[in-house]
């Protein structure tokens, strides 16, 4: 069986000459030239500092060589064992099989017996290509996942957020060298840009939105703009022309979509309230309507300055026309494999009924707008579903379902350039990143990046950890009774 591959969890398109695509795989970022299909630059997020009580630093000579790190185990281990990271143990999940904690993919599993006490540091699922600096070899850190990518053409930089070290960095568009970095207050959960693309907005898991000016000389802390009391899931800037005003639109896990004035962010303009489940994605279209999607069976189209719902775009009914019952059962089964930890907590109050076996959970993980010669189209992707849903505009300006473009695996991320859609799927042997040109009469998916030469293989014991980090949208759904926001 082909080994599992790590899908590309974030894509950003750069409208430069030549056009480029940025791909984030776990903690590694690659810059791909679209015409050549090969990587021109890569960058790996530095490992996050160890959490919990400070550990003794271990200097391992060859940082990239995991073997050495393993071999170095016994020495620091002997020194560490009296001060074994017991306080940290409580915070970390215990991997079920402690003995295999040290093995990594390409390297044969070294004998863990000399390092038998180290695994008790309840190590987590280690990803390949992670921590290279060996700061604490006795306790492996989860990789410093890249969360969001945002290309800023005017400044020739790429904004990157990383989740473990809660940092926002600006990387040079070509060389991927770090130009600037800010430490964020909390783990970032959404990113956007405003002020003619000179101010970056970051939303975090506590619902606060901070702004960061790209050009400022001092490396200042971000400015707190506004806050929900809920995990901020989506964030976008918007404006009206009559009167000429700017706004920030934010969405959270508690079904709110809020429109706030900018820069006077203490003045809330209005709310767009109709969702009954978490909202995970927002898009302001070219004709200044807002499309919102999340855990509901429909997407909302809003006259957002008035807070008025214009249309509900059906999603669930559309899926019934695309997938057969068997396919739906298979998808539902795969989806149940995501968020295992939370589902376990839900077991007590859920008695699964027969018809739930085939019930796909709808969790919108992408809404994008494409321009084809005929007009605009809206592309919607759902977590765990191998399809791109295409919606076109009717003569009266309403959105209607046009077609579903089947993909080889669940679509994880996407980026749009005019009529071309670049997207990544979670497959074992398909392409890593595919493209489709919607302007074609019969759009056909072709490969852009095959994955060869890129470091994307995932060790078996790390698969569960990978799935947990990549498939997070359905986990926003409430109903766990007492599950607190992390």
């Amino acid at each position: 069986m082909a080994p599992r591959r790590h899908p590309v969890q974030a894509i950003a398109f750069a409208d430069s000459t030549p056009p480029k695509l940025y791909l984030a795989v776990a903690d590694t970022l690659s810059c791909i030239s679209i015409s050549a299909g090969t990587a021109t630059a890569t960058w790996t997020a530095p490992a996050a500092p160890a959490q919990g009580k400070p550990q003794q630093k271990v200097v391992s000579g060859k940082a990239d060589d995991i073997d050495t790190a393993d071999a170095a185990e016994p020495t620091p281990d002997a020194a560490n064992s009296p001060s074994a990271p017991a306080p940290v143990v409580g915070k970390r999940k215990r991997s079920p099989s402690n003995t295999s904690a040290q093995s990594s993919t390409a390297v044969e599993a070294t004998e863990s017996s000399p390092a038998a006490t180290a695994p008790q540091a309840s190590k987590k699922k280690q990803k390949k290509g992670g921590n290279a600096d060996g700061a604490d070899a006795s306790k492996k850190q989860p990789p410093n996942y890249i969360g969001h990518l945002l290309f800023v053409a005017e400044k020739s930089v790429l904004a990157v957020t990383t989740l473990e070290d809660k940092t926002l960095r600006l990387l040079h568009a070509d060389t991927l060298a770090v130009v600037k970095e800010w430490t964020l207050h909390k783990r970032p959960s959404a990113i956007s840009i405003t002020d003619s693309n000179s101010t970056i907005l970051v939303g975090d898991k506590f619902g606060d939105v901070y702004s960061y000016t790209i050009d400022s000389d001092s490396s200042s802390e971000g400015t707190l703009l506004l806050g929900h009391v809920s995990l901020l899931t989506a964030l976008t800037a918007a404006s009206t022309t009559t009167p000429q005003r700017q706004y920030i639109i934010t969405a959270d896990r508690d079904e709110h979509v809020r429109v706030t004035n900018y820069p006077l962010t203490h003045a809330i303009h209005t709310f767009c309230l109709a969702h009954t489940a978490f909202v995970s994605r927002l898009l302001v279209t070219a004709d200044n309507t807002l499309i919102s999607g999340g855990g509901d069976d429909w997407l909302g189209v809003w006259d957002w300055p008035a807070g008025k719902l214009l249309q509900r775009i059906d999603v669930r009914g559309v899926l019934d026309t695309i997938f057969t019952d068997d396919e739906k059962k298979a998808i539902a089964e795969t989806q149940r494999g995501y968020n295992r930890r939370r589902r376990w907590m839900r077991e007590d109050d859920a008695v699964r009924e027969a018809d739930e076996e085939a019930k796909i959970s709808i969790a919108v993980n992408g809404i994008a707008e494409a321009m084809v010669p005929d007009g605009r189209q809206v592309i919607v992707t759902l977590e765990g579903l191998p399809v791109l849903l295409r919606y076109t505009y009717t003569a009266t300006g309403e959105l209607q379902f046009a077609s579903g473009i089947r993909a080889t695996g669940p679509v994880v991320s996407l980026a749009v350039d005019a009529s071309r859609v670049y997207f990544s799927c979670d497959t074992t042997d398909g392409e890593l990143v595919s493209q489709v040109d919607l302007a074609a009469v019969e759009p056909v998916i072709s490969s852009l990046v095959s994955g060869e030469g890129l470091d994307v293989l995932v060790a078996e014991e790390d698969v569960e950890g990978m799935v947990e980090r990549v498939y997070t949208v359905e986990g926003l759904r409430k109903g766990f009774g007492g599950w607190e926001d992390e």
């Binding site: 806050g227 009391v229 006077l264 203490h266 809330i268 309230l273 607190e484």
Partner: protein
Amino acid sequence: MASSSSPAPNPTKRQKRIDYRNSDHQDALPQKKYYRQRAHANPFSDHRLSYPTCPADMDWSDYFPAYFSKKRKHDEMVEEPEDLKDQPANDGNSTPLDTKKVEIADIGCGFGGLLISLAPTFPDTLILGMEIRTQVTAYVQDRITALRTQSLSKKSEEKEDVPGGYQNIGIIRGNAMKFLPNFFEKHQLSKMFFCFPDPHFKARKHKARIISPTLLSEYAYILRPGGIIYTITDVEDLHKWMAKHLDDHPMFERIPEDEQEEDVCVKIMRTDTEEGKKVARNKGSKWVACFRRIEEPI
């Protein structure tokens, strides 16, 4: 097979509480001992609360039956309010149904002391208490029902009665930190009360305080220009915190002390809440700060 020879076992405390709550009390006031609950509840966790999707969807008739008719779905239009004027619940008032909106909110109303005192003071205004704890909410609901029943019987016996008959107060279980925009439209409220809120002393818990820079923007949204926020606490540190954040917020200005003392609401807030009475018993101090919501600067 019950053993008939042995005497019935003593009902446990829990059983007593269940029995008490299930029985009909007519107009007897509820007893607090059957509603005890710990003081703290985490506002960030999911409480399986029920709240409307938006203010227009809220059925207020459960809370103010004298003022609202049962809500029908959007598709079925309600008859003209005039037709329903003769409904018995509308205790003789000439106010047509479904015309008023809640204008005063007591956030974290506890056992309802402020609500009960505000009711006759503003007999034509709808006042809503919001509380996150289930037992305490149930207590206040039972208390309001009992007071309404007493008031109606007094009316029928032509005895003197409290203006409004307690029909204008209600309580709902809710999380005010998250869901106020679900209940209230923009600029709906004229007064908001924050009486003896949880101080959350530790620095890492400060984000759970009910007055914070980000939450103040939400309160400014549901308060109308000219509306007033009333705060009172017996913890001086919390008082300074609240006053500072309200001062710093561009949409609020402090009401000077002389004007503050002339406000009847301040007097009621000082003396009529259960927490305030407890503070007085323990000879503690109370700090008051009131702020007016100013016009939009835009």
